[in-house]
């Protein structure tokens, strides 16, 4: 019963935090998740951030799903970027210290694809965040309003199903 309740709560989390910032942050975090290969400790960090911060989880997963597909094509780019970064003599001392430190090697930062994807994600995250914020705003002003004014939406709103959904929304808060 406890597990079911937690699962329901998790489902609920998917639809929460629908403000522009939370949605855009979700998309930006999805960018990191999509690009960074699974199996590194970075992923644990992403999951903690996703659950513990007010970020839209649905947006994060949507962004992750789309960008994961893109990442297969970008792997050679990540490999080259990662190789260049990991070969930098100026960062050599830092990398050696990190590699010899406890826990840090589990991030697999020493892998060219992981490092390359991380660097590319960091470079793209801020522009991606603002681009998504702009896109959400435009979507809400242009697309949603246009749909609301269609006769189909009005007809749907008059149905019993929609009323039931509204009651659920109220109940769920």
């Amino acid at each position: 019963m406890l597990i079911i309740r937690q699962l329901l709560k998790f489902m609920e989390l998917l639809h929460k935090e629908t403000g522009e910032n939370q949605l855009a942050a979700g998309f930006a975090l999805g960018l990191f998740m999509g690009f960074t290969p699974m199996g590194s400790l970075f992923w644990a960090g992403y999951l903690v951030m996703l659950i513990m911060f007010r970020i839209n989880i649905g947006a994060a997963f949507l962004s992750y799903g789309v960008l994961k597909i893109l990442s297969f094509a970008l792997d050679p780019v990540f490999d080259r970027v990662g190789y260049s970064v990991l070969s930098m003599p100026s960062l050599r001392g830092l990398f050696i210290a990190a590699f010899q430190a406890p826990i840090v090697p589990f991030t697999r930062f020493n892998n060219t694809v992981v490092m390359g994807s991380l660097v590319v994600s960091f470079l793209l995250a801020v522009p991606f965040y603002f681009a998504m914020k702009f896109a959400i705003r435009r979507y809400r002003v242009v697309v949603v309003e246009r749909i609301r004014n269609t006769w189909m939406w009005k007809a749907f709103k008059a149905t019993k199903l929609f009323q039931l959904y509204e009651q659920y929304e109220k109940f769920a808060g």
């Binding site: 998790f10 792997d75 490999d79 050599r92 050696i96 590699f99 826990i103």
Partner: protein
């Protein structure tokens, strides 16, 4: 009723405290996974990896990790045999690995000690170890070495040569077909080129010959010299006048000489070119003969020794396998990254490359410090008596600072394997990767060893007792592989559709119950050299050679005769053209050069004569003057 106006502002912190419980659940699930399923998945992962490396299934009976105690226990490891899938190559009863715990938190696996107990050889499997074999992705180094080897093998053996020898033995008349080399053949092309050169050269030389002085001009000059020669020198003034006349003639003769020399040089050069061009026709005929031989599939095979054609491909397989293991070692134990001061290794991964940022006096990412292999004879007939040690298997040899070594001795009496000794040394400590290994066996059984599976004959060693060894040395991109084997008490199986060949081979193999084999491959990437010798190959080669040599020679002669006949008419015309060219140019040129040289000689003779007579006149005058002076002087009397 809700009172929105008076409700407090719903301020949300950036932290979602509600997420704490799912996070705890996820963490607990992760711990549960490690407790319940990790061993199973590690076992599966090891099986998959080892199967891929082995080329046949590798099964692990059980695997238990006790990470807090630093222990991994593995039992019943079956390494399937890719060639005989219902048998295991090796079966290990149990393995125990003692890990250092503190490095684990740094993602380093350091096995300080391990023991491998109970080694069995050739045990039966309950199910097949065969797997769909994916083509191995060879590296550039491997590809270049194998390309170099195949090139050498092709040079030494040729393609389908042995099969064509079979056709010869079947008595096929290989030269029976019509031989037409056509207008595009090398011979015809060269004949046309030589003819055209003769034509163009004749035109050029004609112009030069016309510029040479004709008979009339030479006679004119000669007459002038003769006229001067008839004149007598009475005094110095006469001599000066005559010499001046000769000087003007000398200018004309010099000009003639220069023209003749120039024409002579041109003719020599052109004649050389034409002769060379005609000689090229001979070479072209040789090429056409070779082309026709190839077209008619006349073998070029060196039948002195059939070892390379028979066993060359097997040596290639052995080389490919050796390279596979060398590459595996270089991939998982990479040498130090080139140009780096620090001990940094880069390892190719399925996704990207892993940098191992090593530091002196630390552990590499993976290190097996020592493994002791022990196996004693038991009631189990497949279990052998083996002893061995492996030191320093690691993921960053430049950090570890010592080469990886392995030494093993084994005897499997029931399997009739005695005195097996393996020594391996993998030195990847520096930037230059060095690997060496030797594998020696004093006695081992040979069964069902196919020597030749293609046409014209199938030859297999059904049973034999073997002894031999293999030595390998790799250093960066250079390699050396040497194999020596002696097979005794050999029983052969031989099949062929060719009755004549069957008789030859049966006679050759009768009472030939032991043979040796020596093979060597050395070189560097694409420049590979190979050598193979075996008294079996020599014996078979000699037997076949006696039979086919006469036929081969006959075929060669026949082809040369036919090709020569094809070009004979044009060749004759070419020879005539060459003779005509020589006659038309060399003959007249020689006579003109001779005429000019004669003039030159006559001119010089006249110059010498006049100078001599001038000297005589001067001397006579001087004597007269001296006599006069003598008469005019009266000496006093005493």
């Amino acid at each position: 009723m809700s009172n929105t106006k008076n409700s407090p502002v719903n301020f949300k912190t950036p932290i979602r405290w509600g997420g704490f419980v799912p996070l705890v659940i996820i963490t607990t699930a992760t711990c549960l996974y490690f407790w319940l399923f990790f061993d199973r998945h590690l076992k599966y992962g090891l099986e998959v990896g080892a199967t891929a490396a082995n080329g046949a299934r590798v099964d692990i009976g059980s695997l238990k990790t006790r990470l807090l105690h630093g222990e991994i226990l593995v039992s019943k490891v079956e390494v399937g045999n890719p060639k005989e899938p219902m048998k295991n190559r090796v079966e290990v009863e149990s393995m125990r690995f003692k890990l250092r715990v503190p490095p684990l938190i740094k993602m380093k696996v350091v096995i300080e000690d391990s023991s491998i107990l109970g080694i069995k050889y050739g045990t039966a499997r309950t199910y097949s170890a065969a797997i769909p074999v994916a083509p191995k992705a060879a590296s550039q180094f491997s590809k270049q070495v194998m390309n170099g080897f195949e090139k050498v093998l092709k040079e030494k053996v040729g393609e389908g040569e042995v099969e064509r020898v079979g056709s010869l033995l079947e008595g096929k008349n290989l030269t029976g077909q019509a031989i037409q080399i056509g207008e595009d053949s090398n011979s015809m092309k060269n004949i046309r080129a030589a003819q055209s050169l003769i034509e163009s050269s004749s035109k050029d030389l004609d112009a030069k010959m016309k510029a040479l002085p004709d008979e009339k001009a030479i006679s004119g000059i000669k007459a002038k010299i003769d006229a001067i020669g008839a004149a007598k020198v009475n005094n110095v003034e006469d001599a000066g006048r005559l010499l001046n006349d000769l000087k003007s003639v000398e200018t004309d003769v010099s000009s003639m000489t220069n023209k003749a020399t120039d024409a002579g040089n041109s003719v020599t050069q052109v004649t050389n070119n034409v002769t060379q061009s005609v000689n090229n026709v001979e070479k072209a005929i040789d090429e056409d003969v070779a082309y026709v031989k190839k077209k008619l599939q006349i073998p070029n095979l060196n039948l002195k020794d059939l070892t390379t054609p028979l066993l060359g491909p097997k040596l290639g397989q052995l080389l490919e396998q050796s390279l596979y293991y060398v590459e595996l070692a270089r991939k998982y134990m990479p040498p130090k990254k080139k140009g780096e001061k620090e001990p940094i290794a880069v390892q190719e991964r399925k996704k990207g490359r892993d940098f191992e940022f090593g530091q002196r006096a630390t552990y590499p990412g993976f290190l097996l410090e020592k493994a002791v292999i022990t196996s004693a004879l038991s009631e189990d007939p497949t279990q052998g008596d083996a002893k061995g040690e492996i030191f320093g298997v690691n993921s960053n040899p430049s950090v570890y600072g010592k080469p990886t070594t392995a030494a093993l001795t084994a005897n499997f009496p029931r399997a009739k394997v005695a005195g097996a000794r393996v020594n391996i040394n993998i030195d990847h400590v520096t930037e230059v990767a060095k690997e060496s290994g030797s594998f020696q066996v004093d006695s081992f059984p040979v069964e069902e060893w196919v020597l030749s599976e293609g046409s014209p004959f199938f030859l297999k060693v059904l049973k034999a007792a073997g002894r031999g060894g293999l030595e390998m040395r790799f250093q960066d991109d250079e390699l050396s592989l040497e194999m020596k084997a002696l097979l005794s008490q050999v029983n052969y199986e031989m099949k062929t559709d060719n009755a004549k060949l069957e008789g030859i081979l049966k006679r050759a193999l009768a009472n030939f119950s032991s043979f040796n084999l020596t093979a060597r491959v050395t070189g560097k990437e694409g420049k590979i050299d190979m050598f193979m010798a075996s008294d079996l190959g020599e014996r078979l080669g000699n037997a076949i050679r006696q039979e086919v040599q006469a036929q081969l020679e006959l075929a060669n002669q026949e082809i040369r005769k036919k090709v020569t006949a094809e070009v004979a008419e044009k060749r004759k015309a070419l020879d005539q053209a060459l003779d005509g060219f020589k006659k038309n140019t060399l003959g007249p040129l020689d006579s003109k050069i001779k005429g000019v040289n004669d003039l030159k000689g006559q001119l010089q003779a006249q110059i010498d004569r006049i100078n001599k007579e001038k000297d005589n006149v001067i001397k006579g005058k001087a004597q007269q003057e001296l006599d006069k002076v003598k008469q005019g002087i009266k000496l006093p009397k005493f």
